[in-house]
Symmetry: C2
Subunit: 425 residues, 2 copies
């Protein structure tokens, strides 16, 4: 018998029918002999609806009220799930963040968990009850509700798993695990049996949207085993855990991200302080720049490019337009049709030549590299969005990641996928 | 400067626009120099929607989960109202039942308030903040949320007013006070300046839907002055308070209620135990019988009628059908087209002849009385629904309640009103 935490996201609890399915799933785990704790997000689009109501009343709503408002979403789903479990003859009990003992710092809207008091949940488990915990929320020292920020329910699940000493934290979603690449793009992608925390962090950061980075960070810090699996099948998913170093693959997987845009500022005088001026202004205006590329200077004039999330583009344009005359630059252009493709693998550290091989493979396939960035265990290149799928596939093959079987759900041609990714924003 | 509690119902906070209006109203009260505490219900139909979700998952949902679920409705409206006040440059802070110190007994779904801890609200008031309190909810000794039952927000408002020693508890709604009769039915109805607690309780019980009886009971017990007034105008409404006995009117007002039905059991043997059998079974099946009428026995056979809320009719039919053979009765008939018209007045106790005069007036107007019931300060008659409006009007005139002005919003003819009331269910 093991003690497991099962987390279900907003899509899994979006309707009474889906809540019924989650209840069945939890009961099945219990019938297998496990002690089970559920963690849930708010139903479907609830959080967005509440945000809409708030913004209709106050363009800058007080954070305390906002947290209190948003926290009601998970309180609805947790009570409904508890009711659904009870209707099937099993004991269940809902717990708000407060009742589940999730103590946070005072920062509203993006609170950090400082302590998990496990007493009430342990008592419920001992009484044969399935505790259903509201994700995304905690309580600060003043007794006010705080929220953990978007995607905070994954973090709640990992924190609860740690707090009660669970054997595993199962995170259910509409994908059945972590793949060596997105199977919709690379049909020969393999589902990974296990991934190290470090690799998972890099994959998440590079666009593999399976798990919230923050939850993975928490899990790494406190050594909580995560099992990322499908809400719709019983198949084993992917375990995220400490992987013994001797088993490290050079490349664990390839992630891609089409959510960024590239901004190029042309005709910039190559003088001291220009970059500082530009990127300082961007940071001050809340633009998260990712990669930065500066061309070789020609007669004291150069071009500077950077990438940022497309959600930051409006602020980026505003900043650049303001800074342009100050730095005496000529003009700027925006390229929205780009994609970032990243190779991730802890073994990369000890295997020189990964970058050279990657550039070679992309060159052989006539894929133009627009920008490059690296970390010790990641290599990212920016390419035309139309070439992204091809880039993922040829790198996947070249680094020996291809599976023998072809992912069956991929019905699109390479061209269709490329077209889709180019417009995917 | 006075300390006032302002309660707004679900209709008043049903949309962001209406919440804005409530915020303006509260700020206006504060600008007049008062200290203000707001109490709110859930937005519009929220509570019904949540009930619908719950019943889709569990036909008999656990009471603890249900209370937790329903309490989110007021938590949404309170935070939105606080945000709207802040957006206008005034300080506001929302309080759940727990934070407002509303301590209840352990009965979920219809908890009784046992204590009001006023510290946090007083602190907020001292800091110049407008506290916005979630109606309808409290917290029990186990730290779980409880709800006070339908219409519980009025009770919260009165309890908070008592807890903080407010000068008045203003209850805003879509009617502008308590009238001597429903002005839509009796165009010469007068708005009452003040009504005693006892009269208000009888009026509420007899169908005047302005205030929740429970809130009035609480106010009477703890001597809280209620001001029932319009959410849409600044006009003074009606004060419900202890009225000096020497000012007592014989008749304060006339209420009517078309929500009841009459069930008549025919051919009942007039033997001992028949009534006990019938009404015992009805009570056991949760049928709230109101009036009971037994005809004079003819050759040992009689008819028995009773009235009950139409919402109880299904259970009433079921009970009567089961009991009918046991008491050897012949048949039963249901009359849904009835109305109860009630004369209420504390002064009635000391003024004999009210009943005689009422029967005389109704007779002169050819209105047939189907049943009669009385309390020391109330006389109720059941009449055909089609004659109810006429009954209200002629009694209103006969007992000297008519105002000199005619209620302007009444556009319907007497016939139209009668038709409307007959189908009003």
């Amino acid at each position: 018998m093991s003690l497991i935490v099962c987390k279900f996201g907003g899509t899994s609890v979006a309707s009474p029918e889906r809540i019924q399915r989650v209840a069945k799933r939890l009961i099945a785990r219990k019938q297998e002999g496990h002690q089970v704790v559920a963690v849930v997000s708010a139903m479907g689009k609830t959080t967005d609806e509440l945000l809409g109501l708030a913004s209709a009343l106050n363009s800058n709503p007080p954070a305390r009220e906002m947290d209190r408002l948003l926290s009601t979403g998970e309180q609805v789903s947790m009570t409904l799930l508890a009711m659904a479990i009870e209707a099937r003859g099993y004991k269940a009990m809902s717990f708000t963040g407060r009742q589940a003992g999730i103590e946070t710092d005072g920062t509203h809207a993006k609170a950090k968990i400082v302590k998990v008091h496990n007493e009430r949940i342990m008592e419920a488990l001992d009484a044969g009850i399935i505790p259903v915990v509201a994700g995304f929320q905690g309580i600060n020292a003043e007794g006010d509700i705080t929220t953990l920020g978007r995607g905070g329910s994954d973090t709640t699940a990992v924190a609860v798993a740690w707090g009660i000493g669970a054997d595993v934290c199962e995170i259910y979603s509409d994908v059945d695990g972590v793949y060596s690449a997105d199977p919709r793009v690379a049909p020969r992608a393999r589902k990974l049996k296990e991934v190290s925390y470090d690799d998972m962090l890099e994959l998440s950061g590079a666009g593999a949207g399976v798990l919230q980075m923050r939850a993975v960070e928490f899990a790494r810090k406190w050594n909580v085993v995560i099992h990322s699996r499908s809400a719709f099948s019983d198949a084993e998913g992917t375990y995220i855990k400490e992987v013994a170093a001797m088993e490290e693959a050079v490349i664990t997987g390839i992630a891609h991200d089409t959510s960024e845009v590239k901004v190029t500022i042309r005709g910039v005088p190559d003088t001291t302080g220009v970059a500082a001026k530009l990127f300082g202004s961007l940071a001050a205006n809340m633009v998260n720049t990712d990669m930065i590329i500066q061309n070789i200077s020609d007669a004291g004039i150069t071009d500077i490019s950077f990438t940022c999330p497309s959600s930051d583009l409006a602020r980026a344009r505003e900043t650049v337009e303001r800074v342009l005359p100050e730095i005496n630059a000529r003009e700027y252009v925006v390229d929205e049709d780009i994609a970032k493709v990243s190779l991730v693998g802890t073994g990369m550290k000890s295997s020189p030549g990964v970058a050279a091989r990657a550039f070679e493979v992309l060159g052989e396939n006539n894929i133009n590299i627009l920008a490059i960035s690296t970390s010790p265990i990641r290599l990212s290149v920016v390419v035309d969005a139309a070439q992204a799928a091809e880039a993922v596939r040829c790198l996947h093959t070249a680094f020996g990641l291809d599976s023998d079987s072809v992912f069956k759900e991929t019905q699109l041609s390479a061209e269709e996928i490329a077209a889709k990714m180019a417009k995917g924003r």
